[in-house]
């Protein structure tokens, strides 16, 4: 019995252990605990608190910026624009998790669980192309491409009905925007609902979007839009 316990313990510790890296995190944790070394010392030093995000700080940075929250997360992460390719703006966090937006439509994300590879939108899609609220179509079509077999991946086509709701002012980092709630109900290859807070000129300031069947909804605040 002792031998069996030893065997199981050894397997747990030694799985995926090699000089090429990828040391088992179990080993890493045990090693840190045993040696009482750097990681423990680092943990003992109180981290310098991140400066509070203020509108003045955003203005000072003068860079397109979003705050993203996934699922039930208590706080969001700040991502800043890194590249602009043909209207697709890729935002990245400090640890290189990325989200790509076309307008306010999430078209891709990486490093946040199940990757969304790309989204094809119609030319009249007001979530992707800023459109005065009064000119919004009643429905649009989209194609979501998720990681899957072969270059095609998994393709989900949906039709989304848009319904403009009541006024709903929102405040984001000291600025209040007069917006309306727009509910977007999508059916087809997947069934889901998105919510958007949209100003009369079509600017979307806050949006909660579906980005894949295995992902929790992604909530995005546009803190500083791309000029």
């Amino acid at each position: 019995m002792i031998r069996a316990k030893f065997a199981i313990g050894a397997l747990m510790l030694l799985g995926a252990c090699s000089s090429a890296g990828g040391v088992n995190p179990v080993i890493g944790a045990v090693w840190d605990r045993v040696r009482g070394g750097n990681r423990a010392a680092e943990a003992a030093v109180p981290a310098t608190p991140a400066p509070a995000l203020t509108r003045a700080r955003i203005d000072e940075l003068d860079i397109a910026m979003i705050r993203v929250k996934v699922g039930d997360a208590q706080s969001g992460s700040i991502l800043t624009a890194r590249t602009l390719n043909g209207g697709y703006v890729t935002y990245a966090s400090s640890n290189q998790q990325t989200i790509t937006l076309f307008g306010a439509l999430v078209t891709a994300h990486r490093g946040i669980a199940y990757d969304l590879l790309s989204v094809a939108h119609a030319s009249n899609d007001p979530i992707a192309i800023r459109t005065p609220l009064e000119e919004w179509p009643s429905a649009v079509d989209r194609t979501y491409r998720l990681a899957g077999n072969g270059p095609e991946g998994e393709v989900l086509k949906v039709s989304c009905a848009l319904r403009v709701g009541p006024p709903y002012p929102i405040t984001q980092v000291e600025v209040t925007y007069e917006t309306r709630i727009v509910q977007e109900s999508c059916t087809g290859g997947a069934t889901f609902m998105n919510l958007h807070m949209v100003a009369e000129d079509g600017q979307i300031w806050r949006t909660a979007q579906w980005t894949g069947p295995l992902m929790n909804q992604m909530e995005i605040e546009i803190l500083e839009p791309l000029d």
């Binding site: 078209t107 669980a113 990681a147």
Partner: protein, 693 residues
Amino acid sequence: MRRVQNFLAISILALASSPAAAVTFGPNLNINGSTGLVDMPGALMLPDGQTSWSFTGSNTMSGTVLSFQLLPNIEAVIRMQNLQDWNGPGVNQAERSLDLKFQLFGEQGWRPAVAVGFTDFGANGPLASEYIVATKSIGDNFRLTVGIGWGRLGTHNPIGAPFGARDPQTSNTPGIDHFFAGDAAFFGGFEWDTPIKGLTFSAEYSSDAYVGEQAAGFTVDSPFNFALGYQIGRNLNVGAYLMHGDAFGFRVSLTGNPNTPITPPDFGTGPLPVRARDGSSNMSASWANNAPIRGQMMTLLSTAVSEVGIRIHEAALSGDTVELQIQNTQYARDPKAIGRLARALTVALPPSVENFRISLVNGGLATTTVVLRRSDIEAQVERPNAGPDSYATTQFLDAPNHLTNPDFVFDDYPDFSWSFSPQIAVNLFGGDAFTQADVLLQGGASYRINRGLSFNLAVSQRLIGNIGDGALPSDSPLPHVRSDAALYNNGGPTMSRLTADYVFKLSPSVYGRVSAGYLESHFAGVSTEVLWHPTAQNWGLGLEVNYVRQRAFESMFGFQDYETVTGHASLYWDTGWNGFEAQIDVGRYLAGDWGTTLSLSRRFNNGWELSGYITLTDVSFDDFGNGNFDKGIALTIPLDWTLPYESRSMTTIGLGGYGSDGGARLNVSNRLYPIIRDYNQQDLHDSWGAYWQ
């Protein structure tokens, strides 16, 4: 008349409260590890790829069962069951069977699912039976199953033999003459998804009279069997059974599906955003005339990408082209490494560099060169059809093994590396014992002089297990190339490899290997191999010739007198269909027998692989002994399926292929096809979805 009453009793009970709606609960496993009722089979299928490992026991049998949903409509079950007291009091019968079930129709509307199945497929042994079965959902939580069985499933209250008499059970000799022959009998029952979440109840009328068990003294008091099944979490399912009136049984099943990994696949760092050039970019290539600058740039690039799991072996830079030979040390899918490197190149290289030629290196061999155009990357990134468009604009070429005039060469040779990994070996088919298993800790070390030449050591230590325990001295009439395996010292450390290995390429599409030393646990010698496999081709041809001598039982370095020449010509075929790959080897085996091995494997995109093989040689079934011919299966599971980070490590559970002299093949560690198989165009196509990840 009585049998009709019995048969209808459960059916009427089932129909008494039957609203009409689609069923929502999944198929149950019966005590034999197949989808069905209690002991009887059903017509439903598990999700594609679903794998279950079950441990079962009752008053009449005990054993282990590996179930695998081979295709969406084909279920395969490998059973290793001990039939208790079958050969007299205290003398059990060890039975291994392959059960196949083919679903002819899925359930749709009023139509039930219909399946035809074969228990102990291709052999007329004690477990052999054939059946046709239908399953229909009635309401959200109720299912009804009826069927007709032959063979073992046609023994209780038979209705006659509609297709003629059945030969008596003789042995496990392969054959199909007994299919659907002999008496037939009806069976049926229902499954109920109880209000208690995860708990199901099943009842059945069995058509199995347990003739053999009754001859051994077992009594069957009732044809009605009952079961409770309970799903505990996502990967554990248990069952309790009341059978034949007063017999109890149980089943514990570990289940998993390679299509639904436990850990989300990408909680890591995302790729670099592509930096697109614009009209103001300086397209001058004059910098390329300065060789030190080229070398310095490639050295910096090598350092940078090594941080993200990419080792650059060789690099050459010109004004418009960069050539890189890289090894992916981190990402489970190679297109992901290619894509991340390409993104880094758009950031790191001067605007004039338009062509990226990236060759993938594995095991010291350059395999395929992927040719990308920077302008394509810039035009495709983030776009809706980036996946298919990028594949369409990428060229795949056979890679030269080295660059002609490199500006950078990885110069950390000699390179020493090591690894530890668990190994689980299970012996199902060889020897006299029932099921034997070893848990091994395998340590490996490699001292690489340069990319092609290395010295390799592998040592394993059994942690727990019983393979070979109690084995009797072999009486095989063949040279004892495997049957005396138990005589090797299995308790202490075992040196399973100490070799000098040289791999090379004769041309961009022809690979070569020479290995010498202690090639495996039982044989030492010289092994040579050549493999022709153009990357754009989904098949390849190989030739291997070995001269080997058998190693001593007690001494780690000594030899016995037996020596032989063994080798095979091999055809490798990646079918491109559902991940199936086939391999045919024809040649001379270790015991001097001539024959062929047919291997079939199914690989899933996330790295799971189930493979099986059979070997038939000119050795007669009698001379071969238990099992008649060599066969085995293996399940390979990538460790990143259960680890919270991305890793290329895998572990393999091998079943069978132990202790038989006939059809025994030399176990060479670094055969060429496994080195290159993930790097041809077909495989890169299958995993190209990761290119933009």
